[in-house]
């Protein structure tokens, strides 16, 4: 048993601390130790993106990050997007545009779109499609997801 390490970071704005083996993957720390089961596991070869979280203002696949690498990091997951009882524009838009069906890819998809819009507030359809190309969905065929991200972009722009 390699020496376990204490790791502390901010999760959705709250400081947390876990003691983990170096080999523990961030997705497992979030889901098993910190009760954040929003991000999901869909593969083991870093392809599907269902585990996407926002780490230090980057969209990352939590299944391919070691928790020990997150000392002092700022992590946002789907559970952190609703602020003060108000849904984020993306959460509202995914609902209004039927951008989800089984919901399994939705947490990773919305968390990725969150960072995409931060970096590009006025994306074209092609920007959105390549922007979410790291997130697989098996139910929607992406068309309504793209509409949802476009709608959220307009809402955020209007909110100024």
């Amino acid at each position: 048993m390699a020496t376990a390490k204490k790791v502390s970071f901010k999760l959705n704005g709250k400081p947390v601390e876990v003691t983990v083996e170096p080999r523990e993957l961030l997705i497992h720390s979030l889901r098993e130790r910190l009760a954040h089961t929003g991000p999901h596991i869909g593969c083991e070869t870093s392809h599907c993106g269902a585990c996407t979280v926002d780490l230090n203002e980057m969209s990352v696949k939590a299944c391919t990050v070691l928790t020990v690498q997150c000392e002092g990091a700022e992590i946002t997951t789907i559970e952190g997007l609703e602020q003060g009882g108000a849904l984020h524009a993306l959460q509202q838009a995914f609902h209004e545009e039927h951008g989800l069906q089984c919901g399994y890819c939705t947490p990773g998809m919305i968390t990725r779109a969150y960072r995409l819009l931060k970096e590009n507030p006025n994306p074209s359809e092609q920007d959105i499609r390549s922007g979410i190309s790291g997130n697989l969905c098996r139910c929607t065929g992406y068309q309504n997801i793209v509409k949802a991200v476009q709608s959220a972009a307009k809402k955020l722009a209007a909110a100024g």
Partner: protein, 288 residues
């Protein structure tokens, strides 16, 4: 899904990292972006005893212009390359190339140094480096040495990087103004390795080629430089005939490995096709 156990080290300087590598020996592997090594560990194909994470070493990041070359820290991520104004202006080939690698999430973590030194023939950076005539700064117990990209790649998972050395910086001579550039990559879907890909840097003098560099991804056990095609094109105009011949010469050196992307016949043909398209695109961008 679950890697085997290992000890984790996160040195804060290159010197510390080199010292650690020396102490830990062959059981230690460098962890850069982790998107080639961690998946192998999760499938238990790789079970290193120690991981030396280079993510906390500030001196390994950053993109700057120094004299007549661009210097890039080995731990600079593909995402940072994509968003660099300096590169967009001075080395646009690298920006285009980085955009073809994997998907957005992988590009936030994957690093230029990791891609160069991993040693898989499917990595994209090696071809870009050859086309740009880059060189690499390798830092080891005996200090730094600078090695040309051309000749750095030896074989499958085998480069000039010794077991106790770290690739710390990439140096790219400023491309001549008005040079054309292109990285054409054929793949089954976003995120896939190249079925075939070609990087081209091209300088024109009037209607004829002054100099050209052509490098092929996933066409053999390592990145390949199409020297015969380069030599042939010197002094020639870019037209159907010269493109056909250049493509043919490039195809002659290809020894791709068959897999689900295609058999050798298809892959060799695609090496030719990507070479043709890269030359055409570079020519369109070049100002003679």
């Amino acid at each position: 899904m679950i890697p085997a156990g290992f000890d984790y080290h996160a040195p804060r300087s290159v010197a510390d990292a080199v010292k650690l590598l020396g102490e830990l020996g062959p059981e230690a592997k460098l962890l850069a972006g982790g998107h080639s090594l961690l998946p192998m560990m999760k499938l238990r194909f790789a079970e290193p005893g120690h991981l030396v994470d280079l993510g906390r070493i500030a001196e390994l990041r950053g993109i700057s212009e120094a004299g007549k070359e661009i210097r890039i820290g080995a731990m600079t991520t593909e995402h940072e390359l994509l968003r660099s104004k300096l590169l967009a202006e001075k080395v646009p080939l690298l920006v285009e190339g980085a955009g073809w690698i994997a998907d957005p999430q992988v590009r936030y973590k994957g690093t230029i140094g990791g891609d160069i030194s991993h040693g898989d023939p499917a990595n994209d950076q090696p071809a870009l480096m050859l086309a740009l005539e880059a060189s690499f700064v390798l830092t080891g117990p005996k200090g730094e040495r600078v090695v040309k990209a051309d000749g750095y790649f030896l074989g499958l998972y085998s480069t000039q990087l010794a077991e106790d050395e770290i690739l710390t910086q990439i140096r790219i001579p400023l491309p001549a103004p008005g040079s054309g550039w292109s990285y054409q990559k054929l793949k089954r879907k976003t995120g896939d390795f190249a079925t075939a890909a070609t990087a081209v840097m091209l300088q024109m003098k009037g209607k004829s080629v002054a100099s050209v560099a052509i490098a092929l991804t996933n066409a053999g056990p390592t990145v390949l430089k199409a020297r015969d095609a380069e030599a042939y094109l010197k002094g020639k105009a870019i037209d159907d005939a010269s493109l056909n011949e250049a493509a043919r010469l490039a195809m002659k050196i290809c020894q791709p490995t068959p897999d689900q992307r295609g058999d050798a016949e298809y892959k060799v043909a695609m090496c030719g096709e990507m070479t043709r398209r890269a030359l055409q695109a570079a020519h369109a961008r070049a100002k003679g």
